[in-house]
Subunit: 162 residues, 2 copies
């Protein structure tokens, strides 16, 4: 697991390697069952944008996240998710922006909902593009999955290490 | 999930609510099977100490973590893990101290192994004491479990939200 505060702290991501991860994208409603997305080996990216974040920070964030050598292979070598190749699950996680104020959590630094959604969609899109641009990933059937912005993030995760 | 950089950034924690979490504390070795610890509802605390961290920062960290109202109840009210009451799983996670340098991760800011182990043991001990001091927790059979310092942290996690 790795934490990265973006340029001038306009975003925060936490990255976790996984063997399998499953995220609810639609809760149970009346007769209809919950819907989930899942990935096998790869990484889970939890993301939160702060006030003042703009689209121009996204290309650099996506580029680092997809290219940083975080994933340990069986041989003990570290590779990026693009090299592995592994899948990506993106989880919008507003609570990452929380600050403890006494015993309560406050989220005054978080970006507004509309701007947050716009940036989140851009972030997902650019991750998808970045992965699709790698023939290694497309040939291996690598996927980018993502959660629903604003939902309660119900997650199930299996890791084999940091 | 909530991220908290400690006083003057001498430690970093990431906190995740969980319904169930299971951490490997001993890997498979020859004929002997892997050993795991697990908790039911409560929270997982990932922790990493930085250079310059001393024992004096731990009481405040433990106090905030056990008392901050992070856990959502069925009624939608937020409670601390002590109030819930919920169990605690502590995961030593050195990779939280990483910084991306180009495409590689560097851990120059992390505390040395011996000091890290000493602080980690103190942190676990004080969490145990904090939970044991609450009669609500002891009556409910609440547990504090923790990972082995320096191990590969193999984790399985189910959440019901942030």
């Amino acid at each position: 697991m790795t934490e990265e505060a973006g340029t001038l702290s306009r975003a925060r991501t936490v990255v976790q390697q996984c063997l399998h991860a499953r995220l609810q994208v639609k809760p149970v409603e009346g007769q209809s069952e919950a819907e989930w997305v899942e990935i096998q080996r790869g990484m889970v990216i939890f993301i939160c944008f702060f006030k003042g974040a703009e689209e121009d920070i996204i290309p650099k964030m996506v580029n680092s996240l997809l290219n940083v050598k975080l994933c340990e292979t069986d041989s003990g070598k570290y590779m990026s998710v693009l090299e592995l190749p592994g899948s990506v699950l993106i989880v919008p996680q507003a609570t990452l922006g929380g600050k403890a104020k006494g015993r309560s959590m406050q989220y005054h630094g978080n970006i507004g909902k509309d701007d947050g959604l716009r940036l989140y969609n851009q972030f997902v899109l650019q991750c998808e593009k970045g992965m699709a641009a790698s023939s290694k990933c497309t040939e291996a059937g690598i996927v980018v999955k993502y959660g629903t912005y604003g939902n309660r993030q119900v997650l199930s995760l299996d890791t084999n290490g940091p």
